[in-house]
Symmetry: C2
Subunit: 132 residues, 2 copies
DNA sequence: GTTCGTGCAAACGGTTTGCAACAAT
DNA sequence: ATTGTTGCAAACCGTTTGCACGAAC
């Protein structure tokens, strides 16, 4: 059986063809796609899928902990299948977003803030990705 | 002379009444307002100002370094008159954004990333503001 | 047969654009 | 005269909503 179907079931999500298609795109992409980018990708395989279904499904996945929604681009939310804590790098030129492993950076001082009860933190880096 | 007029001139900006009004709202607010929130505030004093003028003016101020645009809220950009490097705390319940002084936190490791040429970094904290 | 999922189209909120009128230089 | 600034309305883009049809339990 397709492992994605099992993953959805495990999270109490009925595995419909549309949801499987969304899952295959959104859970396997490291590109931090927006909802509309997921929609475009999904439609290449399954052109009948509606915008509303993709938005519903993405929100459902976020609710169930399969995805995280991140506010890193102007005007749109992006979805990240890496749900463990990590940081992000945003390329100034391309706008592309890259994951930065949690252990690559260390933040100190956030525990001793007088006014704020910090639940989570992340570092947002901006600059240029090095030409490989 | 109004200090705001001098500030605008110093940055090569022609000081029109509309721009002065936008400046008084956006440069003196620590609330990290969105463009529409600035518009609403400005219109309380000067109801004839158009939406386009406020958007134009805010972008001009960002271009000239009087404001920074920050991507911290879903669906909208917010403007921050504090242009020196600092971090941000976002209240989960109210959505309000607070400045966190640069020296309150320390980030290490961002200089030794192989793939990325980091130009700037900031920490985004989320949680609850302590009831004072 | 009631609930759940889907598709469509309209509505919505924030932002941008085109253009005509006007003020400043 | 040329350039810069404003206001209005329409367009635009990402997202949400309402509703009716159909599938699953």
């Amino acid at each position: 059986m397709d492992p994605v179907i099992e993953l959805l079931r495990k999270h109490g999500i009925q595995a419909t063809p549309q949801r499987i298609a969304v899952a295959q795109v959104a859970l396997e992409s490291a590109a931090h796609p927006s909802a509309d980018e997921v929609l475009a990708q999904v439609r290449r395989r399954c052109p009948t899928v509606s915008r509303a279904t993709v938005y519903n499904t993405l929100h459902l996945f976020v609710e169930r902990g399969l995805l995280h929604a991140q506010v890193l681009r102007e005007g749109t939310v992006v979805f990240d299948p890496l749900v463990e804590p990590h940081h992000h790098f945003v390329d100034d030129e391309t706008g592309r977003i890259y994951d930065v492993p949690w252990d690559a950076l260390k933040v100190t001082g956030h525990r001793s803030l007088a006014d704020f009860d910090v639940r989570e933190h992340q570092v947002v880096l901006r600059g240029r990705r090095r030409r490989t």
